[in-house]
């Protein structure tokens, strides 16, 4: 018969555990000291292997010991034959495996395993792959394992389609997994690359003669596969519209094209003997090999960015040697060479003209559509339909609203302007924590629309008043603008980029919250600055205006600075060219 079961009291247990711990600590410290002294003496023997193994099994994050272990193994490699080395390393693999069971996220163990696998004379990659899969099935976000797995896949040359099937499996079991989606995005272009034929012509209202697409498609996927991916990812965001991972993948699918690097505009002004060059991305003109050829003669010029703040800038200017183009009866031909990119742009300054330019306009480049670069409008249209369907079910889902906006932008930015604004209003309400982000994004889209409208109208006036702008962007596109109207918005500053408006003559910015005029800097043609009802409070804030030589008219009514003592005389001293001052 059984005796009654007696159980130790808590105090007894505690005491026993304490003793146990003490004992363990003693052994651990002794072994550690032994290891260190052996290493100092440069001893690489089996005993050291055993000692480090003992210590690392209880604490796999002891990097020094892993290092010591590697030293010993490398030594053993030199004295043992290949079969023995194989055996030693196989034992090493099973040892790291046991360490990973203790701590599946141990940096030391994973790194050591990678090191061993790479040195193993006859590696068994299939086994390693199985190990990774098992590990990921326990925790599909273990990034150590993802890293190691990538190495295994690379070393063993696992076919891409198998890997894609692997992501299918992981996404199937839990689609909230950035690692899997991302992995997919790297595999698809390899497995289903976009066909090399030129993009189909039905991409937009057919314009005169579309220039060669500025977009390159090295990371694009063929359309058939894309459609399958849309279906997959739609299943995910219809199932759980609050899960970000699927939406991000969707953004990737819709695609962000890479723009070709080019000189987008060359502007020349006869009176000022000045050339301005705009690039498709910010560059440092002083170091990219930029040459100016005038009528076949290379010119020695000094390139400078529009504002001293910028080392990298999309707009650069230079002055030609005095007298080179000043004769209005001569025709001059300029060429700007960007040698690093083997590209150039010509610009002719005809007889009798004081200025001239040559450029690709934003409309030609489809500049603002390239954020989503799906080839076919019909595909985008059907995507928009399904996301709208989701929005009917989930009217307050922010990912859904944002995606609708992006799709509308890609399809018809001007046509959907009102709907876009309505969706932005909803977004700011449902996601008030990010309302400033949405305001900025909306400003950006409104500026894009205004640029498009301006270019269709073929004018040099940029007018965007009363549109709730909170920020300015795309200012490099406004290089040729002579008149800008920013009144009645929520702007707080005219940033340094504003100096790219090299042709600006009139600046209207009444009724904003502008405190800072940093960007109104060396604008050679600026004559009129209207800043009624803003927040300019000190004379120092107006300092930069002094760099604009032609400034005549300045309206500062309704600004705190007008309350300053002696403001009128101070201003007269600061801005001697101003003849028409409103305070």
């Amino acid at each position: 018969m059984h005796g009654r079961v007696k159980i130790k009291t808590t105090a007894q247990q505690e005491e026993e555990k304490r003793k146990e711990r003490e004992k363990k600590l003693k052994i651990y410290v002794a072994a550690r000291d032994a290891c260190f002294s052996k290493r100092n003496e440069g001893i690489w023997d089996d005993e050291a292997l055993q000692l480090t193994q003992q210590l690392l099994s209880s604490n796999p994050d002891f990097a020094t010991l892993w290092n010591y272990r590697r030293e010993i193994l490398m030594h053993l490699e030199t004295v043992k034959d290949k079969d023995e080395v194989q055996k030693i390393y196989e034992a090493e693999l099973s040892f790291t495996e046991s360490c990973l069971k203790v701590n599946p996220k141990s940096y030391g163990s994973w790194h050591h395993r990678g090191w061993v696998s790479a040195r193993l004379p006859r590696p068994d990659w299939a086994r390693e792959l199985t190990l990774c899969d098992r590990c990921l099935s326990l925790d599909d976000r273990n990034f150590h394992c993802w890293d190691y797995r990538r190495m295994v896949v690379k070393m063993s040359g696992v076919p891409v389609d198998q890997e894609l099937a692997f992501t299918d499996r992981l996404i199937g079991s839990n689609f909230s997994n950035y690692s899997s989606w991302h992995y997919r995005s790297t595999l698809l272009p390899l497995l289903h690359p976009e066909s090399p034929e030129p993009p189909s012509p039905c991409r937009e209202p057919p314009q005169s003669s579309p220039p060669p697409s500025p977009q390159t498609h090295s990371h694009r996927v063929c359309e058939e596969q894309l459609l399958k991916e849309y279906e997959l990812v739609q299943n995910a965001f219809f199932t759980d519209p609050n899960d970000q991972s699927a939406w991000f993948y969707y953004r990737w699918l819709l695609g962000r094209a890479e723009r070709e690097e080019m000189i987008s505009c060359v502007y020349v002004n006869r009176d000022e003997e000045r050339v301005a060059v705009a690039f498709s991305r910010p560059v440092n003109a002083q170091s990219v090999g930029l040459f100016l050829i005038l009528d076949g003669q290379p010119q020695r010029v000094e390139w400078r960015s529009v504002h001293p703040r910028f080392k990298q800038s999309p707009v650069w200017i230079c002055n030609l040697p005095p007298g080179t183009i000043s004769d209005i009866t001569n025709e001059r031909n300029l060429t700007v060479h960007w040698t690093e990119k083997h590209t150039h742009r010509d610009c002719a300054l005809y007889t009798g003209r004081t200025e001239s330019w040559c450029r690709d306009s934003a409309t030609d480049q489809e500049l603002f559509r390239s954020e989503l670069s799906v080839e076919k409008t019909s595909v985008l249209q059907s995507e928009l339909q399904s996301v709208k369907q989701l929005q009917e079910l989930e009217p307050l889902n922010k990912w859904c609203l944002l995606t609708i906006i992006l799709l509308m932008r890609a399809l018809d930015p001007l046509g959907y302007e009102q709907e876009m604004l309505a969706h932005f209003r909803t977004l700011k309400e449902v996601d008030s924590m990010r309302s400033a982000y949405y305001s900025d994004l909306c400003s950006k889209f409104m500026i894009e629309n205004t640029i498009l409208k301006m270019e269709y109208a073929e004018v040099r006036v940029f007018s965007i008043s009363d549109k709730n702008l909170t920020t300015l962007c795309h200012l490099d596109q406004l290089l040729l603008v002579t008149h800008i109207n920013l009144s009645s918005n929520h702007l707080q500053r005219l940033p340094p980029q504003f100096a790219m408006l090299q042709c600006l003559e009139v600046l209207e910015a009444d009724n904003n919250a502008i405190e800072n005029l940093e960007g109104v800097y060396h604008l050679p043609k600026l004559e009129e600055v209207l800043l009624k009802n803003n927040k300019i409070s000190t004379l120092a804030d107006l300092q930069t205006l002094a760099s604009c030589p032609k400034l005549k008219r300045l309206d500062l009514r309704g600004n705190p600075v007008t309350q300053t003592a002696n403001v009128e005389s101070e201003l007269a001293e600061l801005l001697p060219s101003v003849t028409d001052l409103l305070l």
């Binding site: 018969m1 059984h2 130790k8 026993e16 079991s173 839990n174 739609q234 299943n235 759980d240 079910l393």
Partner: protein, 619 residues
């Protein structure tokens, strides 16, 4: 057990090793009560048992045989003054009825594709009998169990007398059996018998809700260390004549091919909204759940899934009940896997045994093939003072717990017993072949034409309940007629029995068993015209989970020991102090101590199968 006498005094004597009894035994032993746990049967777990194929055949044989009315021995000599005797029923055979066995495969593998023993079929046909029982006779014909077949016939006749059997002529014995399917690997009856030990066929068919009271209890008490569990991998439903997967988890919904994306969203939104009770829900209290579902604009597909497979209720169930059921389902989802259910490896019969083992570890004494023949009641207090066991030994006790089957019919106050209809099939393929052959599926079959809803559980060999190449299918429903009447229409619709040859896509039934079992849900622990310290445990109920038995065990335990905790965590082996031991034992000693303690009093059927793992899903 050796024929030594048992100690003559216990705190609690328990008769019957079903789930509730075993939990009470474990709980009492755990808090230091002296427990004697006996069962008249030769196996553990009563009607909750799992059998090997061969043991099941023996069980069938026993239940088909005329129940021998045991001689009631006069024990009055053991009665003292002021005491009286209550005789217990000798057997519980009443709880099982209408056994019918069908075998659709030939004796030997690769035999000629002749229909089974034709002469016997004709004979039987001539006897004007239901052709469906044909195979059952064939099955017994080869062996020495002639009487079994006859008994089956008798039972069946009895069953048929109870009502019309329109489907009786459905099965056509002249049709060749499923061997007509050349691609499938044929399994012969001999093979089933030869590998019979690898089957673990449950008498009841239940699943464990991941957050149900059984799982909670297994974890809380550490009893889980005695068993291993598998996830139920998918939930299926039978609809429009085919089997579909029910998308219930997020991953299922994502992967589902039958649902449109809009349906996916609606389903997910509905499920999310169910998690918390809202005022909108309360507004539907007292109205049918189906009406509530309809007004959620869910569409037929989703309504079907929600009603039959997630809430698992009927069309007229009230909204509050349907929602509570849905909520329970959702709470259980995702704890261990993509469905709310677990299934114990080696079958449900493991669970009562695990609790018995726990009881034994804490000193409980176990005797199988040993019963209690009568109770000795103190006339004054109307309390049971002692019991007299089947060997005539008087054993005094403070409490007596008994399985309802042993309580004489005259003392049972239960209203007309309800029955469960059960069928057990061994098939050759899954009802919905998937990418994995190791699926464990729950299939909900909605009620049709006045027939009740059927729960079907399909077990793959990974659960260690059947041999590779086969699936074990359990069907359960509330009885309307006999098990055969209730369930064979479902079987014929979903499987290929010998009679239908044109259903090539369906899995073939190799062997099947129908029986009825008493539904334990009506039995109360008290009020049986029994002394106040005698508690009655019911047999299995028809629900999918184990709530009924666990609640019953807990309430009995609290009546016996109102001050004690129900199944507190069992200590770790290293914290147990052994007799006469002063110093801490070595670690190996501890392990041996536990194994010895567990093994000593027990006659485990499948000792070698036990594995100690925590309640963690395998995959």
């Amino acid at each position: 057990m050796a024929a030594e006498d048992l100690p003559s005094e216990f705190d609690v004597v328990i008769l019957g090793t079903g789930l509730a009894e075993s939990v009470v035994a474990a709980a009492c032993s755990r808090v230091g009560q002296r427990v004697l746990h006996v069962d008249r049967r030769s196996y553990y777990a009563a009607n909750w048992a799992s059998f090997t194929f061969n043991a099941l055949l023996t069980w069938i044989q026993e239940h088909q045989a005329e129940s021998l009315s045991e001689e009631v021995q006069d024990r009055s000599s053991l009665v003292e003054e002021g005491e009286e005797l209550i005789y217990l029923s000798g057997s519980d055979s009443a709880s099982i009825s209408n056994l019918q066995v069908f075998c659709y495969i030939s004796e030997e593998a690769e035999e000629e594709e002749e229909p089974l023993n034709t002469t016997e079929e004709e004979e039987a046909g001539a006897a004007g009998e239901d052709a469906a029982k044909e195979p059952s006779e064939t099955e017994s014909a080869g062996s020495k169990e002639e009487e079994t077949g006859e008994a089956a016939e008798g039972d069946e006749q009895a069953a048929q007398e109870q009502g019309e059997e329109p489907e009786a002529d459905q099965p056509q014995p002249s049709a060749p059996p499923s061997q007509s399917e050349p691609t499938r690997k044929k399994i012969s009856y001999t093979q089933l018998e030869k590998e019979g030990r690898r089957f673990n066929i449950d008498l009841v068919s239940k699943l464990m809700y991941s957050r149900g009271s059984l799982v909670d209890l297994l974890i809380k008490s550490n009893v889980s260390r005695y068993a291993e569990f598998k996830n139920v991998t998918r939930i299926l439903t039978y609809r429009h004549g085919s089997v579909e997967q029910v998308p219930c988890s997020r991953a299922d919904v994502f992967a589902s091919r039958q649902l449109s994306v809009v349906e996916k969203r609606k389903l997910m939104r509905f499920l999310t909204s169910c998690v918390e009770e809202t005022e909108e829900h309360q507004a539907y209290n007292g109205r049918p759940f189906l009406e509530f579902l309809r007004e959620q604009q869910l569409g037929d597909n989703l309504q079907h899934f929600l009603l039959h497979s997630i809430a698992m209720v009927t069309e007229d169930t009230l909204t509050e009940v349907g929602l509570a059921s849905t909520r329970h389902f959702l709470r259980c989802l995702g704890r261990y896997g993509n469905t709310p259910f677990l299934f114990p490896v080696y079958g449900l019969g493991e669970i009562p045994q695990c609790f018995c083992r726990m009881s034994a570890v804490f000193g409980g004494i176990y005797c199988l093939r040993h019963s209690v023949s009568c109770l000795i009641v103190d006339k004054d207090s109307n309390r049971c003072k002692a019991v007299i066991d089947s060997r005539g030994q008087r054993i005094s006790c403070s409490h007596f717990v008994v399985e309802d089957g042993f309580v004489g019919a005259d003392r049972q106050v239960t209203t007309p017993t309800r029955l469960l209809s059960r069928a057990v099939l061994i098939t050759d393929a899954s009802v919905l072949p998937g990418n994995s052959e190791q699926q464990v599926s729950l299939v909900t079959v909605p009620p049709t034409d006045g027939r009740p809803a059927v729960n079907m559980v399909e077990l793959s060999p990974s659960t260690m309940t059947c041999i590779p190449g086969t699936y074990l299918v359990h069907l359960t429903c509330q009885s309307v007629g006999s098990a055969y009447e209730d369930l064979s229409p479902v079987v014929t619709r979903m499987f290929c029995t010998a009679e239908c040859q044109d259903q090539e896509n369906r899995p073939a039934v190799l062997w099947c068993l129908y029986f009825n079992m008493a539904d334990g849900s009506g039995v109360e622990p008290e009020g049986h015209d029994l002394p106040s310290n005698v508690y009655v445990c019911s047999g299995p109920d028809g629900a999918l989970g184990h709530e009924h038995a666990i609640k019953q065990a807990e309430s009995i335990f609290l009546k016996i020991l109102p001050e004690e905790e129900f199944c507190p965590p069992a200590p770790n082996p290293e914290d147990i102090i052994y007799d006469g031991e002063n110093t801490a034992p070595t670690s190996t000693g501890e392990e041996e101590g536990l194994t010895a303690a567990g093994g000593e009093g027990e006659e485990k059927q499948q000792e070698q199968q036990e594995m100690e793992t925590s309640l963690q899903p395998e995959e």
